[in-house]
């Protein structure tokens, strides 16, 4: 990767990076309104799977507004994504960016198809779960685009050597996978055919998913702790690594509180499966949004670790680095 970057690294383009950041924010907005639609059980408030006519007044009708806003935001996201993808395909010399461009276009298209299928098949879990999860994967792709177009990524930044195993990148990758598994389990709890498993007396399915989701939260905490310890010990002077870990810690705490509240409210309001009360809608929607934010942050952290830290068997351990002595065998300019 280092030599590839050395030969093919483009100049930093502030507008491309800003477009990538805008796409990240817009994707988060789409996910938020999609999550709100599901929390309100309003996924079928527009009967047509594909609908092109604009009605400004629909934006103000409760339930209808969540789904309609979700659909209105998507074409705009499509424009941002297409612009990014075209730049990566034709202007960015890095081969990996062309693959990312294809991933963005395909991901958006498939997501649109699953959105239509979700409506066509009455928001059943076999379409709504892939639709929900693919949205999160798409968010990861646009976050990657933002990271890979950032100033520090394209700079002459020195790579820090670290003698510790496993490499920080692999620790962060494990964290990303764990957060993603948590998202899958959360989707299984949410997209349960409007509480059918509970109403139909199949409580054990719900309880199994809930227990697995709680175990997943413990898993995320475990991997996050390992990452934090490693970064605090070795890379505290790299803000691109240190700052996301603080955010992840805070978000994890908030997630646990919100998730507990959302689960309790869901169990208390089983009879209102079709029309959940407001507090449950708010708790569940914010829980989804923070989950997406955690995944995006973990992905950014993983990529930054890949860029900024390399395993170096000759590098000095952390204790010598903090005394100010230049470590022997520090990896030189590799970007």
């Amino acid at each position: 990767m280092s030599s590839d970057l050395n030969n093919l690294r483009p100049a930093f383009n502030a507008w491309v990076h800003r477009l990538a950041l805008l796409t990240v924010g817009w994707t988060a907005l789409v996910i938020t309104f999609g999550g709100k639609t599901k929390s309100q059980e309003a996924g079928l408030s527009i009967a047509e799977p594909v609908y092109y006519t604009f009605h400004w007044d629909w934006l103000f009708v409760p339930n209808l507004s969540a789904e309609y806003t979700h659909r209105v935001l998507v074409p705009i996201l499509g424009v941002f994504t297409l612009l990014l993808a075209l730049h990566f395909l034709f202007k960015d010399p890095r081969p990996g960016m062309k693959k990312l461009a294809v991933g963005l276009i395909v991901g958006l298209g498939v997501q649109g198809v699953f959105g239509a299928l979700t409506v066509k098949y009455f928001a059943k879990s076999h379409t709504s779960i892939p639709h929900a999860v693919l949205g999160q994967i798409f968010l990861c792709l646009v976050v990657s685009a933002a990271v890979l177009t950032s100033k520090y990524w394209l700079s002459d930044r020195k790579v820090t050597g670290s003698p510790l195993q496993p490499p920080l990148f692999k620790l962060c990758r494990a964290l990303v996978i764990m957060v993603f598994i948590q998202l899958l389990l959360g989707a299984a709890i949410r997209h349960d055919n409007r509480g059918e498993v509970l109403v139909a007396g199949r409580e054990m399915v719900f309880i199994w998913h809930l227990v697995a989701h709680v175990m997943g939260a413990i898993g995320v905490g475990f991997f996050l702790t390992r990452v934090i310890i490693r970064i605090n010990r070795q890379h505290k002077n790299i803000p691109e690594l240190y700052s996301p870990t603080r955010w992840l810690m805070i978000l994890l705490g908030v997630q646990i509180l919100l998730g507990t509240k959302a689960a309790i409210l869901k169990m208390m309001t089983i009879s209102n499966a079709d029309a959940p009360p407001t507090m449950r809608i708010i708790a569940a929607t914010i829980h989804v949004l923070i989950g997406a934010t955690m995944l995006a942050t973990a992905v950014a952290l993983m990529l930054r670790a890949r860029r900024l830290v390399e395993f170096d068997a000759n590098a000095q351990p952390a204790a010598e680095v903090t005394t100010g002595t230049k470590p022997a065998g520090t990896v030189g300019s590799a970007a």
Binding site: A47, A188, V197
Partner: protein, 262 residues
């Protein structure tokens, strides 16, 4: 993040619904095979009565909050402000479904040609409860000048549907293949909108009026079981009643009361 990893994760997501579990697939009730053609004009018998409310008065119906819906707020003076889940006036029960549950199997009934109509008026389904025969058309018509969706969510056996009615006069027509009690028709836009459709393989069914009265007409002579169904799960249904029709009208009152909660 490599696109291939994203693809692998996506494939995992598609496989996840297996863990969620498939929905229940209830047994579809078989249509009885009759032996004798039924001609309604040949039969003068019937069953009629009144469904009354017994015991403690039911709780006050929930008040519907329309204030956040700008479309509905414009017709606020025409709105029904409370839930229709249980309507009891002067101890008489409206919208209870009364039907013959056995005894009618031996007849071959002609297909019902007249459609049953439900109008969406002032953000309500009117009537709130209907009965139809299997294969009979049920027509939903938009009586409001704004967008409604008609969402059919079966309890067990009939097919789901979701139709958009954009303006006044738009209609959606459905038929139901299998007998089913309380097929719920609702709306994802306005959650208070509900209509319960009960489907039968014969014509001996009806819904009580505001005064609790019901009448099943043109019932052939014979012994039947008369039953009552109501949408509200907190209501105690009466036990099925045997009725004997012999060319005349049989008077059979029925009663509902609240379930005793332990």
């Amino acid at each position: 993040m490599p696109s291939l990893t994203g693809l692998k994760l996506f494939l995992c997501a598609v496989a996840l619904p297996i863990l969620v579990g498939c929905g229940s697939h209830a047994q579809k009730p078989a249509r009885p095979v009759g032996t004798t053609p039924y001609v309604s004009a040949d039969h003068k018998g019937g069953v009629r009565g009144v469904v009354t409310w017994e015991g403690a008065a039911p709780p006050d119906p929930a008040v519907i909050d329309y204030s956040k819906d700008p479309k509905v707020a414009g017709i606020a003076d025409k709105l029904v402000l409370t839930s229709e889940s249980l309507i009891v006036q002067n101890a008489k029960v409206k919208n209870a479904v009364v039907f013959l549950s056995s005894g009618a199997e031996k007849w071959i009934y002609p297909a019902a040609t007249e459609p049953v109509r439900v109008e969406i008026k002032h953000a309500r389904y009117e009537p709130h409860a209907v009965t139809v025969e299997a294969g009979q058309k049920l027509v939903f018509e938009n009586g409001d000048d704004f967008y409604h969706t008609v969402l059919g969510s079966p309890r067990r056996v009939n097919v789901e549907f979701n139709e958009g009615l954009h303006k006044k006069g738009d209609t959606a027509t459905r038929t139901f293949e299998y007998a089913e009690m309380g097929y719920k028709v609702s709306s994802d836009i306005r959650k208070w909108m509900n209509c319960y459709v009960s489907v039968f393989y014969h014509p001996f069914h009806t819904v009580t009026k505001a005064d609790g009265s019901f009448e099943l007409k043109n019932v052939p002579d014979g012994e039947y079981t008369l039953e009552l169904w109501h949408e509200n799960p907190d209501v105690q249904l009466p036990s099925p009643v045997k009725v004997q029709v012999k060319g005349g009208i049989v008077e059979q009152p029925l009663a509902l009361k609240m379930k005793v909660k332990l």
